[in-house]
């Protein structure tokens, strides 16, 4: 364990949380570790972090990292509305939402869509295992057609692909990864946090208890065999100098709002992450070929985020003084006289 201090003057241990209560080997625990690494390396100040979640195994995880930060484990499928409200109250907070596939693609689909529509500045991580773990193994809406439950039942419905849905809505940041691929997940989390707008990060995260068997398309072995990364992802925070020693033409560099860079190294066919149609195509092609396409699918750094569109000041609304909030006596009596 590194004892080196980051930009915020904190050691990596400062980003740890309570002990996990999830199953040993759960993909979500890996994501928690990636989160710790990403937040530590970014030098996020814990008091400015707001960890938001809904209900389910995934939604428990905000308790397992950055224990000193505020967290809010709300109601099932409604993390986006709580996050939107908290963000409006205080734009200074770094909103980090953690949700699951049931929480996002079933009960919370409406709020998921509308958060994207508004482009609320937050990171939205879907810990996606295609199954309802806490209620013991029912299919979720992201389970693939034909995938098999532990006890043999076959899923007969088309899956909802959160990335495809997000792209269709014009989400300003869409990425997919695999919980076992820390090399990819960590830079994507950092980039999602640096992005100003709704950043959707769908992380396939096998459920070792209910969905890690032959016939599941969300198992460790299936994902390992079928993952197809569209580019190597590196993240260079704004406080580090950009230093890239790749051959010209083999990398793409996307600058984010805070001055950070995402550096994408070409793997085979080049994918342009600023081309939305190409992102939709790459997902569809992967699906047709039985591949799980991972990496940064799409990013739009030009779109205004919700608070900017709404002309909300940078100064937290929660801190406005009584004099700024109340009408003056003169304004009040003038206003009352208009009712006469």
């Amino acid at each position: 364990m590194s004892t080196a201090l980051n930009r915020a003057g904190l050691a990596r241990d400062a980003y740890k949380g309570a002990a996990t209560t999830l199953c040993a080997g759960c993909g979500h625990n890996s994501i928690t570790n990636h989160m710790v690494k990403a937040l530590y390396e970014l030098g996020v100040e814990p008091h400015l972090l707001a960890k938001m979640s809904g209900i389910g195994c995934s939604s428990k995880t905000p308790a397992y990292f950055v224990e000193t930060a505020h967290g809010f484990n709300g109601v099932h499928g409604r993390m986006p509305s709580l996050t939107t409200g908290a963000h409006l109250a205080n734009r200074q907070l770094i909103m980090l939402g953690v949700s699951g596939d049931g929480d996002t693609a079933s009960i919370g689909l409406g709020q998921f869509l509308h958060m994207i529509r508004r482009n609320v500045d937050c990171t939205y991580i879907i810990e996606d295992n295609g199954t309802y773990g806490l209620t013991k193994g029912q299919f979720s809406a992201t389970a693939d057609l034909g995938s098999v439950q532990k006890k043999g039942a076959v899923n007969t419905f088309q899956p909802i692909d959160p990335c495809a849905v997000a792209l269709a809505l014009g989400c300003s940041f869409v990425a997919r990864s695999f919980s076992g691929d820390g090399k990819q997940v960590v830079p994507l989390i950092k980039a999602a946090i640096a992005h100003r707008g709704t950043a959707i990060l769908d992380i396939i995260s096998p459920c070792v208890t209910f969905n890690d068997h032959d016939g599941s398309t969300k198992s460790y072995s299936w994902v390992k065999d079928h993952e197809e990364s569209i580019a190597d992802v590196s993240f260079i925070p704004f406080f580090e100098e950009v230093h890239v020693d790749y051959e010209p033409g083999t990398v793409r560099d996307v600058q984010l709002h805070d001055g950070s860079h995402i550096v994408l190294k070409k793997l085979g066919e080049d994918h342009d992450p600023t081309d939305r149609q190409a992102a939709i195509k790459v997902i569809e092609e992967g699906r047709a070929e039985g591949h799980l396409v991972t990496g940064l699918l799409y990013v739009d750094t030009k779109m205004d985020d919700f608070a900017t569109t709404e002309h909300i000041p940078q100064r937290p609304l929660k801190d406005l003084s009584q004099d700024e909030l109340r009408l003056s006596r003169d304004q009040f009596s003038q206003f009352m006289s208009e009712f006469a």
């Binding site: 484990n73 709300g74 509305s81 709580l82 409200g85 908290a86 109250a89 009712f339």
Partner: protein
């Protein structure tokens, strides 16, 4: 001709919705109010955009009665579809202004008819083709002004006031009114007893305000900064007024930045969720809803109660169940809202009974929410919220905002970081909270709707659960003693009335009627839940106490019965009104007299 009836009459205009009739009604209302005469308008409108029947009742009394009248003195019949039914509502001896084309064959002979060729006049006299339909309604304002003797100066004032922000519309509307005014002078002689005469002192210092306007102003003065809502009648106008007031008063003129965020959410779930998220993060936050919307907010209300997040939720009641009658009034959400959500949940509920209280309680609701770290419901209704009411001008707040028990960075340093989110250090059940963004390592805690201990840690422990629930009870008990106390008006009568909310107007009138007939009754108006101890004491001082409310099941009656010592329960009686129309005084006096005639 009989004795003149001066300043004591009810006009009912029966028109078609979407035709602009509401504007005509408001001009008439403002003109009469300008004469110094008390007015009490009630708009009865359909859940429809255009083409269905709508009625506007304008009650005029020298005493300033504000409840709906069950009698019509002057009918303005503009809608052929309801003409026959409307005619039945007129009091014998009343007057009927009607479209000339409506048949009066076989119609009643105990009323005076004034047939006016409204359609022909509109066609021949109103030159403005695009506005002809809207302006046609203004013709009847002129006829009524002629009939009742409203001075032209008052009519002019009514039009100018109604089109305060659209002065260009004044001349064209006045022209249309003049058409009716002249038609009256040229064609009729007065056959009915009704007339209006200017009054002195009856409306001095009074203004006309809708309850939802008052609540929007209250919220603004209460310091609201995050508003999330979903459109639903009859609550929509509250947030729409808030949007308008915010544009006027909450824009930083130097930067163009808004010092408030008003979000039209995708549904009521998201609306209340956003408000709770904002309340958690330290903003003064609210939502407003009605009918089905409050049902949808049940789950989140339980979260805010259990996780102890301040939020203000307005419920402008309409009549249910289900979609019910979306544009009709009711007080039937009382029991539901009081315990909204599953599990042992109990909320602070404020019950404004006047538009002035809509303003005051909306404003103070934010203090209560912060102070008790809990959802505060403000229960208004369609009658109070969407009708214009005469009211004294509202008072400027005399207290600073109360943000409750919030620990700052300095507080945490002073405490050396020793605090627990849900530890009851003061013994009042109200614990200390920190806000996200507080720069101290001990500030953070994990808020959750699942079981938690004093440190906000997850637990399924039996003792910790029961301890927490007991503390929440204690907190509500603290609140109970601080919330607005019931208002008593007593003169030692043996019988009394208890009511809440918009029923107040009918109670005031009913008491006058009863007193005049030798049966004075005392009165207690409830202004908050949980109930104050004053209620039991009040009941103890009376032989019979009638609980009057606008719902089928006697919801307040039930709550009071539960709160009373056993020996007092038998003194309670219930009077209920639940047809969607605002309760008239007669709906109190008649059942009360009947029940009084029954031996106890």
């Amino acid at each position: 001709m009989t004795e003149p009836i001066v300043n004591d009459l009810t006009i009912q205009a029966a028109t078609v919705n979407g035709s602009g009739s509401q504007t005509a009604n408001l001009v008439l209302t403002r003109a009469i109010f300008h004469m110094g005469i008390p007015v009490a308008p009630k708009n009865v409108f359909p859940s429809n955009i255009e083409g269905l029947p709508t009625w506007y009742q304008l009650r005029i009394t020298p005493e300033g009665h504000m409840a709906r009248s069950d009698k019509v003195d002057i009918l303005v019949a503009f809608n052929v579809a309801t003409w026959r039914e409307d005619l039945k509502t007129v009091r014998p001896g009343g007057a009927v202004i009607h479209e000339e084309a409506f048949s009066t064959a076989e119609a009643r002979t105990d009323v005076t008819y004034y047939a006016v060729p409204f359609a022909k006049l509109a066609k021949s006299k109103i030159q403005n083709d695009t506005l002809r339909k809207q302006l046609a309604n203004m013709i009847y304002v002129g006829v009524v002004a002629g009939l009742l003797g409203i001075p032209w100066e008052a009519v002019e004032h009514g039009v100018r006031r109604q089109f305060l922000t659209k002065p260009k519309a004044v001349p064209v509307n006045l022209d249309a009114i003049k058409v009716g005014y002249d038609y009256w002078q040229d064609n009729f002689s007065k056959q009915d007893p009704y007339r209006l005469e200017p009054m002195q002192g009856a409306v001095e210092g009074k203004v006309l305000v809708e309850g939802n306007q008052a609540a929007a102003l209250g919220a603004l003065m209460g310091g609201v900064t995050v508003v999330a809502w979903y459109p639903i009648t009859p609550s929509s106008s509250l947030c729409e007024y808030l949007v308008a007031y915010a544009d006027r008063f909450r824009v930083d003129t130097a930067t163009g930045e808004k010092l408030i965020s008003v979000v039209q959410a995708e549904d009521e779930l998201a609306a209340v969720g956003m408000a709770i998220g904002a309340g958690w993060a330290g903003a003064r936050a609210m939502t407003s809803t009605s009918g089905p919307g409050i049902s949808l907010m049940a789950e989140f209300s339980g979260l805010a109660y259990y996780a102890e997040v301040p939020v203000v939720i307005f419920d402008i009641q309409r009549i249910g169940p289900s979609t019910g009658l979306p544009t009709r009034t009711s007080q039937a959400d009382l029991g539901f809202v009081y315990t909204l959500s599953h599990g042992d949940t109990k909320h602070v509920v404020l019950l404004p009974g006047t538009v002035e209280e809509c303003y005051e309680l909306a404003r103070d609701a934010f203090d209560y929410a912060d102070r008790f770290q809990t959802p505060v419901f403000v229960l208004s209704d369609l009658d109070l919220g969407m009708n214009l009411w005469m009211t004294p001008e509202f008072k400027y707040p005399d207290k600073p905002l109360d943000r409750g028990k919030v620990l700052s960075k300095d507080d945490l340093e002073r405490l050396a970081g020793e605090w627990a989110r849900y530890r009851d250090v003061d013994g009042d059940g109200v614990t200390y909270r920190t806000l996200p963004g507080t720069d101290h390592p001990a500030a953070g805690y994990f808020t959750r709707g699942s079981g938690h201990d004093e440190m906000a840690r997850y637990t399924e422990g039996a003792d910790a659960y029961a301890r927490n629930m007991d503390r929440l009870s204690r907190k509500l008990e603290t609140a109970r003693h601080v919330l607005p106390a019931p208002l008593a008006d007593e003169a030692g009568a043996p019988i009394a009335l208890i009511a809440f909310g918009s029923t107040h107007a009918a109670v005031v009138e009913a008491r006058e009627t009863l007193a005049a007939s030798g049966k004075p009754v005392d009165y207690l108006r409830i202004r908050a839940l949980p109930l104050s101890d004053d209620v039991a004491e009040f009941v103890r001082r009376h032989d019979h106490v009638y609980v009057v409310e606008q719902n089928r099941d006697g919801q307040l009656f039930d709550l009071i019965r539960l709160a009373l010592p056993a020996e007092l329960v038998g003194r309670l009686r219930s009077i209920r009104h639940y047809n969607g129309q605002p309760i008239p005084a007669v709906a109190i006096t008649e059942p009360l007299m009947q029940l009084e005639a029954v031996p106890a």
